[in-house]
Amino acid sequence: MGFLKKLLFGGPAAVQQLPTGTITVDRAGHIITSTVSSSYPKNMLHGIGRDVLELLREARAAQMPLAEVSLHFGSLRITARELRGGAIIFLFPQTALFPTPTPARP
């Protein structure tokens, strides 16, 4: 039965959860602190940190250094503030009726 179960049903359906919380990354993309649930895959968080740092780095290269950058998706908002080459990144899942407010400017 155990064998059949494996064969027929495979693994559980993979429904990706959206990350909620805050992470801090250094200039090399290493995660320094995180309040995101420990069940959320670490490599995904690394990916977010890496991409956000690249966005901020490219902005500097374009002579347009940005103190803050926000990516607004249908169900998630990622807001990152530059921190001496690194960044503090806020992850807010969104719903249609209750979009989360923008954090106050520093």
């Binding site: 990706q16 959206l18 990350p19 995904m44 990916g47 977010i48 991409d51 690249e54 966005l55 490219e58 902005a59 290269a61 374009a62 002579q63 347009m64 250094p65 940005l66 103190a67 803050e68 950058v69 926000s70 990516l71 607004h72 998706f73 249908g74 169900s75 998630l76 990622i78 249609a96 009726l97």
Partner: protein, 359 residues
């Protein structure tokens, strides 16, 4: 016997239902308000009560608003329908109108223009009184010229609100005569010509505004003829080179005026596939900014796919000097620069700028 109209409001949000009930109960015809928090409950009420108007949300668990509306259209054709949704996606508006709903309003618009919403609702109920269960609804795939001619031929008094993505235009028709138009910041005949260049959109009939100032004196047929001639000339490949130049010049001037009117600093349009040069107005550092725009679009696409975070709305950035907003539209990405102190609602203003850039 109670002659008051019955209005049924369907929404899965209890607070919103309470708010709507309070607001609509105070409207001039004092309708009786019924509420339901599921589509199943709404259908049960439609079966048992004589509902004149159904106001439905779109996004609900189990059966969504579009499914319900298609059932209502089929089983209760005499019931007028309004969609009141929080979803700002143009596709939902088109799909709702394709199902034959009478009006589509965004919840946020309804809160801002509660008085206008009540007037539209009263107008719908009044129409229902006049027409009884007769009359046809659900016009689809007609050109704007057809719609305007139809309103004028029937000597209607109405305000036509035409929506194309984030752009909204209005035409005021009084006793079958076009008296005023507003589109893309222009008014009068200029607005009417700009509006006729729109290739697609949706329209709604709002209550007439009798005291609207008249800015258009020409008969509507003359305006339509002139507009059709202008569009034909624009499509003619045998046109003189100097007139092409002057048209390009006019287009650039128009874009600049839009930029100034909205208060933006610059706009850059970047082809995403890497073909073609970026187009820019208001900035010198085009190449570097275009590179960042491409990079932001690519990173956003990558992140969105990996996190399954849904479609990208925009990417916003800011520093002490300015704010920038990147939007993807079709096969191009747009970067709009705003002063640091620019007011709120920049995504909406940027979308309007980008839409008029393309029109």
């Amino acid at each position: 016997m109670d002659a008051r109209h019955k209005i049924l409001i369907l929404d899965d949000d209890a607070d919103w239902l309470a708010l709507c009930r309070e607001m609509l109960a105070a409207s001039p015809s004092r309708p009786e308000i019924l509420t339901a928090n599921t589509a199943k409950r709404a259908l049960a009420l439609l079966e048992t009560e004589k509902i004149r108007l159904l106001i439905s949300d779109l996004k609900m668990p189990r059966m969504d608003g579009l499914q319900l509306l298609s059932i209502v259209r089929r089983r209760f054709p005499e019931t007028r329908t309004i969609v009141l949704s929080g979803l700002e996606d143009e596709e939902y508006r088109s799909r709702a109108y394709a199902l034959g709903v009478d009006l589509f309003w965004l919840k946020i618009e309804m809160q801002r223009n509660a008085q206008l919403f009540i007037e539209c609702l009263e107008s719908l109920l009044g129409q229902a009184d006049r027409d009884g269960d007769t009359g046809f609804r659900g016009i689809q795939s007609k050109s704007l010229m057809d719609i305007i001619q139809m309103e004028c031929l029937t000597r209607s008094s109405t305000v036509l609100r035409i929506t194309r993505g984030p752009l909204v235009a209005k035409l005021w028709i009084q006793d079958g005569e076009l008296i005023d138009a507003e589109a893309e910041g222009a008014r009068g005949e200029a607005a009417f010509y700009r509006l006729l260049a729109w290739k697609a959109g949706t329209f709604e009939n709002l209550p007439a505004e009798i005291n609207r100032e008249r800015t258009i004196q020409k008969p509507v047929n003359a305006l339509l003829l002139e507009s059709a001639q202008a569009l034909d000339e624009a499509a003619d490949p045998g046109v003189e080179p100097d007139s092409v130049e002057s048209r390009l010049h006019r287009k650039t001037m128009w874009k600049l005026s839009q930029l100034t009117r909205e208060g933006a600093e610059f706009v850059i349009a970047v082809p995403l596939a890497g073909q073609g040069e970026p187009e820019a107005l208001g900035t010198q550092g085009v190449a570097a900014l275009a590179k960042w725009t491409r990079c932001a679009a690519e990173i956003a696409r990558r992140l969105g796919d990996r996190l399954e975070a849904g479609p990208l709305s925009h990417v916003a950035g800011q520093n002490l000097e300015r704010q920038v907003l990147m939007l993807a539209r079709g096969d191009r990405a747009f970067l709009v620069g705003w002063p640091a102190e620019a007011a709120e609602n920049l995504p909406e203003k940027s979308r309007k700028l980008v839409a008029s850039w393309d029109s």
